[in-house]
């Protein structure tokens, strides 16, 4: 499976579906507060209960994760149906926390590699809003070099003993399970000694430390594993073949970041960077005298935002029609990183001084803070440099970067500190 299936769908059927979704959302989902919207990542408690409750509502109505197969709690519908739900749901509070990584990254991995027992056990639980998942993939020792994982899983009969540390998991403390990549064989080159596991998060031997970001939010965590015992039935795919699974996980991550996944639900809104129209109003009120420069930059933002949507559609069509290889999702990822940082920059400038120094009780400083951490858009979900490697190597067919560790047994690979 190299890409998603986007079945041809009858326009009349889709129009009917849109009406149905609108009617249901109006009746059943809370309307988004335009002035002070609820932010799904700033959920009210330690369990992300509101996300879970909203996911449950969607599920009860038959509008949750509709691209999943019926036998696991989905609706076996097409990406076009999910897109309708996404469009309509812009006016409503949505359980965005379930979108990434649970439904759009971990989900397709389990669908593709999981045993029948694993699929029956876990997929319906996500769709109903009972269980949230995270990824334990990145490690403190190496950002983009995921195959260089140092966390170890040593076999002991029907169990594995896990030791090591993972980082950049999203809200691990509020979640239930993780997909974890760990090293099971140190005698073979790095890609051939990894295994993917399902790990219960609130489990003896696991310590979770939230990481405070530049804006002082604690979205990401680092985890420490100290003799954590996991049953062998939690292996996803084959032992020592975890890189095959991880490669697909990364593919789904890029699709998800690039808006090309049919498994995401709803769209994330960013207060300071979305809504170019809002920025025009801010520029009018606070932009100061440099009208010509602001016009250029606003016009450019509008251009970027429209072209990003068009590019995203083109890439989906291109992959679907065989015009572009599946890694073309990296084009959208790269565009997104560059356009988002530009937007954060312009948004900050439009605020004038108020993004830099503000009165107590005002929140214009958020524009300054987001500007300070704007490179996050070019780092998280795979850096823009990795995207450029993928585009040049896997779309344009250029030679791969030389890797000193490619054929060395992993225990002989030089590593930092």
């Amino acid at each position: 499976m190299d890409d998603f299936v986007y079945a041809e769908t009858d326009p009349a059927e889709l129009a009917r579906y849109r009406e149905e979704v609108e009617a249901w959302m109006n009746e059943n989902m809370p309307r988004r507060d335009p002035v002070n919207p609820w932010h799904p990542t700033q959920d009210d408690d330690e369990r992300s209960s509101r996300n879970r409750e909203l996911q449950r509502r969607l599920s009860d109505g038959g509008y949750a994760a509709v691209c999943y197969p019926k036998e696991y709690g989905g609706q076996s519908l097409t990406a076009a149906h999910q897109k309708i739900i996404d469009d309509v749901s812009m006016d409503f509070d949505m359980p965005i926390l379930f979108s990434v990584p649970t439904l759009s990254i971990c989900g397709p991995v389990i669908l593709e590699f999981g045993t029948e027992e694993q699929k029956q056990r876990y997929i319906p639980a996500w769709i109903r809003g009972d269980e949230l998942w995270v990824q334990f993939i990145s490690e403190p020792s190496g950002g983009s070099d995921m195959a260089g994982a140092l966390t170890r899983a040593d076999r002991d009969g029907e169990e594995f003993i896990i030791n090591g540390s993972k980082i950049w998991s999203t809200f691990a403390q509020r979640s239930d399970y993780a997909l974890m990549l760990a090293r099971t064989n140190w005698e073979v080159p790095k890609h051939r000694g990894l295994t993917m596991f399902i790990v219960p998060i609130h489990h003896p031997g696991i310590e979770i430390h939230p990481i405070q970001m530049v804006d002082r939010t604690e979205e990401f965590c680092q985890e420490f594993f100290n003799d954590v015992v996991i049953p062998a039935e939690n292996v996803v795919g084959e032992v020592d073949d975890g890189w095959t699974v991880a490669s697909r996980l990364l593919f789904h991550e890029r699709a998800s970041v690039g808006n090309a996944s049919p498994y995401t639900q709803g769209r994330h809104r960013n207060r300071t960077a979305d809504g170019v129209e809002d920025l025009a109003a801010i520029a009018r009120d606070h932009g100061g005298a440099d009208v010509g420069r602001h016009r250029q930059r606003l016009g450019y933002l509008e251009t970027l935002s429209r072209v990003e949507e068009l590019l995203s559609d083109r890439v989906v069509k291109g992959i679907e029609g065989g015009f572009l290889p599946a890694p073309a999702g990296s084009l959208v990822r790269l565009f997104h990183g560059l356009s988002r940082t530009e937007r954060q920059t312009v948004a900050m400038e439009m605020q004038g001084d108020r993004a830099l120094v503000w009165n107590q009780g005002e929140d214009t400083g958020a524009f300054g803070t987001e500007y300070v951490q704007r490179q996050q858009a070019c780092i998280g979900g795979g850096t823009t440099e990795m995207a450029r490697n993928i585009i040049s190597e896997r779309i344009l067919g250029m030679p791969r970067e030389p890797a000193a560790d490619r054929d060395l047994p992993f225990n002989q690979v030089p590593r930092s500190g």
Binding site: G299, V307, R314, G321, R388, N389, L396, P399
Partner: protein, 374 residues
């Protein structure tokens, strides 16, 4: 190239490409640079036989599109012509034919038969020296005189101006913006060929020294109706320029990627250097995003939905990124890239002209900002 072509559109595209490759390979493009008219009239008639001038003409007048969405079909040809840096009065002839088909008198529409046969070339005399390619810059005057008009003014950068058999002239009349269709031999009308950065297409200055025309020369009603026509003409012209540049950029990137595979330095191909691979990745992004922007604008025009915005988005994006891509490809080639012998400058010249005429990317960014209320 679009990813959603129907079988008919794909056949049309493939035919256009084969025709260009067979009839006007780059060696011929260079030969034609010496022709005063830019291309042999007989070749333009062959192009017309393939349907290059019929797409915007209504079926009732002998024309017809491939898909029922003529602007989209037109961008297919523009894309292929951009790939081949193909000369010919393609853009002005189609843009003016579109307006004649929609707003022209029956006498004016009778000319379309010649357009369909490739025997009649049309030009649009719009921009004026120092002007910014908007309708509000038009200062040429259409003064009423005994039920007729006297036209006075100067137009610049009129594509195919000296080749056109008829010129559509945009001018200000007491009833508002007006357009007139004039045979090129009308007394008082002086057409002088201009030099151009683009070595393939032809441009001219058009002077109107008290040109007396009857009311039958009017195309459509002066005022709001003509303003709408002019806006449509600008939009179609702009999307064709963008399609042309997207096609050029895609082609330039193709042969530059090939060059990076073939060219070795320090014992390895250029394509193996990460510093260059990352620049190629950016260029691939610009190329695909440019094509997406062209398709979005063509769709908006075909559907009549938000077309002013989407056309400006396309020009603002494609205008800059296609040309920057070509400069970067020159850089990838090194010294050979800045020689007359290499083909790169043919593309860069044409793309730079497209970038600037009918509004620069900066002009279109300002338009977008105004649409957003700032």
């Amino acid at each position: 190239m679009r990813f959603d072509l129907s079988d008919d559109q794909e056949f049309f595209r493939e035919t256009a490409r084969r025709f260009i490759e067979a009839e006007v390979p780059i060696s011929v493009v260079r030969e034609w640079h010496d022709l005063p008219d830019g291309c042999p009239p007989s070749w333009w008639q062959s192009a017309a036989e393939l349907g290059w001038t019929s797409l915007m003409v209504p079926e009732s007048m002998g024309g017809g599109s491939i898909s029922g969405r003529p602007v989209v079909d037109l961008t297919i040809v523009a894309d292929e012509m951009g790939r081949g840096v193909t000369p010919g009065p393609f853009m002005p002839t189609n843009v003016v034919a579109d307006t004649l088909g929609r707003s022209g008198s029956s006498d004016q529409q009778a000319l379309l038969e010649g357009v369909l046969a490739g025997e009649v070339v049309l030009g649009w005399a719009f921009c004026e020296p120092g002007g910014d390619w908007t309708a509000s810059q038009v200062a040429a005057e259409a003064a009423p005189a005994n039920g007729a008009y006297v036209l006075t003014g100067t137009k610049t950068a009129v594509e195919a101006g000296a080749q056109a058999h008829h010129l559509l002239v945009t001018a200000q009349s007491p009833e508002g913006l007006a357009q007139f269709l004039l045979p090129s031999d009308t007394p008082g009308l002086t057409v002088t060929p201009q030099e151009s950065l683009d070595l393939g297409r032809r441009f001219a200055e058009v002077r109107l020294d008290g040109v007396a025309v009857g009311p039958d020369a009017l195309v459509g009603q002066p005022g709001a109706a003509t303003e709408a026509d002019v806006e449509r003409q600008r939009q179609v012209m702009t999307v064709l320029q963008c399609a042309d540049n997207a096609g050029s950029a895609a082609r330039v990137l193709e042969f530059t990627v090939q060059y990076a595979f073939d060219r070795y330095s320090f014992g390895r191909p250029l394509a193996s250097y990460q510093a260059l691979k990352h620049r190629f990745a950016d260029m691939k992004l610009w190329s695909e995003a440019s094509q997406a922007a062209v398709d979005g604008a063509a769709d908006a025009l075909a559907d009549g939905a938000d077309e002013a915005r989407m056309v400006s988005v396309a020009k603002a994006y494609v205008g800059d990124h296609s040309v920057e891509l070509m400069h970067d490809c020159v850089q990838m080639h090194g010294g050979i890239g800045v020689t007359y012998e290499h083909d790169l400058h043919l593309y860069l010249r044409r793309a730079t002209v497209n970038r600037g005429l009918f509004g620069t990317p900066g002009d279109h960014r300002v338009c977008l900002s105004e649409m957003m209320g700032y």
